[in-house]
Symmetry: C2
Subunit: 331 residues, 2 copies
């Protein structure tokens, strides 16, 4: 077989390169994903000065087959601990501003390689916030036909992002996922729970009633999270909730608190459509919590990072059609 | 020397026997503390059926010298994992109710030994709360001349306790201390901080300005704790706060959130006197946070648990003067 049969021409190679994992995509001339790969080669796994080799380790054959294709990277690869530090860009920002602030990394073979900068904003109290990698995923996940949009990226550090006219106008980060893991793994609340987190890995919520109870109590609690957390212990102690249901109850308290905090701080009103960018387990939980508070969850199509990389690359003239702005959402 | 010279007569032996540590007191006929001891023989350190031996290991000579003195125990020794489970008593409750619900433990030599029960209450949302050990410390720490009092016991699981006419009428638990340790030790926020918690062990607050900033932001944040926690990372990332100041900032965010939640949930109003029962490091932090929110901190005298044990023992007729109710506070 010829290499043409095996590997149609790539016009762009893109990577969402995070702390622990990375996903790589190669794109055809129309922005379609010709092939994708993933591995555990996050930035923590890369030795000093091993960046180019690490990239070749995942997509060396793609690079060889398309010597002229530019490479665009997003995520923690642009942090102080990454390949090169791409300074944060201030909001509001969209594909054009991100394209204008791409951080070039010189390559020995002259190939064009650049890193998408993260975003920063300052809230009403003057407190800064940051994201890195999510800006690309968001630009590939929201519906560009909407003038106003709200996008949620649940996870270790959940992000709630306000969009206006295709630009990210502001956002807020919540420590929800990391706090769940720390509370479950390293406080007395976790000792009442089963050891394995079966509830956290499946597509369904293990005990939807316990989860909804947690969300509702978080909403009723008017932000009294430090107090509500102790109820995980007492509800277990008095056998009101089974041990196996306590992880869902804790998740409900935390996700409910996040939704409640996000609704307090910004432009989220009942009836607002909120796009959720998440894998299966979190998707079900966030959809349930958003519905409980009167918001309308929309689940984003997969591969948002890929679409975002393509949009930014197109705006930067990396894709052969210079600076044409956002391409239509392919989700 | 005669044993009389060495060891004046004890009329009561009392222990505050917790999860990790215990403190023992022997009392004279007037309720004065003749001697006190402490060790790391908390209930986790006691082997199955080793309770009497463990008690003798700390105060065997006291028991021998005073064969008729009753023994009163408070704390986690009365939990399901302790010597015997003393069922929770419902609020409101004071020394008389606790004395009436003492849980007797039969001793081979016929000595009177009993465990003080913990307390339980239910909040307006129907969520139960519990304490075990703190009820005794509170009864020895509040000023009985006050008709109304608010007592705070900061720590792993902070308790805010409302008193009326000498009774505990209600309380709320906050996961503050345990969450501080989990966040500092097991999230990305802790990685920006110095390894050793010098700030957490001293009498003074390491960086009072960073602490006060955390408290103020918690108060301004209207309960948005999940979001505010992420500011520990960004304030470090942008060099707004030095690495060494971040633990104080985090402590301020959490203690400020606790004070804010407590003020929302109950009878705490500006100008209220709040008695703080805590060791040096936490005492300074809570006093500062209470003043920032307009409350008036009063620092409780040490050995509140000893005074509480004496009061409950007196109400139970353990001290030779049957059922005389609370004795004057000796603090």
């Amino acid at each position: 077989m010829s290499s043409e049969t095996l590997m149609p021409d790539s016009v762009l190679i893109g990577l969402d390169w995070g702390t622990s994992n990375r996903r790589a995509y190669r794109f055809g001339a129309d922005g379609g994903i010709l092939e994708k790969r993933a591995d555990a080669g996050g930035i923590l796994a890369v030795p000093a000065n091993g960046w180019a080799d690490s990239l070749a380790g995942l997509v060396g054959d793609w690079l060889t087959a398309a010597p002229d294709a530019p490479v665009l990277l997003s995520g923690m690869v642009g942090s102080r601990q990454g390949w090169a530090e791409a300074p944060y860009l201030a909001c509001p920002a969209g594909p054009a501003a991100l394209a204008g602030a791409l951080w070039p990394v010189p390559m020995p073979d002259g190939r064009r390689l650049a890193i998408v900068p993260g975003l920063t904003c300052v809230d009403v109290d003057g407190v800064p916030d940051v994201m890195r990698g999510e800006e690309t995923e968001i630009l590939g996940s929201f519906d560009p036909s909407q003038a106003e949009a709200m996008v949620v990226l649940p996870g270790t550090h959940s992000k709630w992002v306000a969009m206006h006219g295709g630009l990210v106008t502001g956002f807020a980060t919540f420590l929800t996922g990391e706090l769940y893991a720390a509370v479950r793994g390293h406080t007395i609340l976790g000792r009442l729970m089963p050891a394995a987190d079966a509830a956290g890995t499946g597509d369904e919520i293990g005990d939807p009633v316990a989860f909804a109870l947690g969300v509702q109590r978080a909403l009723d609690g008017e932000g009294r999270l430090l107090h509500r957390l102790f109820s995980v212990r007492t509800e277990g102690l008095f056998d009101h909730l089974a041990s196996a249901s306590l992880p869902d109850y804790l998740a409900g308290l935390l996700i409910g608190a996040e939704v409640s905090e996000a609704c307090k701080s910004g432009p989220v009103r009942a009836g607002t459509a909120v796009t959720v960018v998440a894998g299966t387990a979190l998707r079900a939980r966030y959809a349930a919590a958003l519905e409980l508070v009167g918001l309308c969850p929309r689940i984003a199509a997969p591969d948002g990072a890929a679409r975002g990389l393509w949009r930014i690359a197109a705006a930067a003239g990396f894709t052969g059609t210079p600076g044409t702005g956002p391409v239509p959402c392919r989700g």
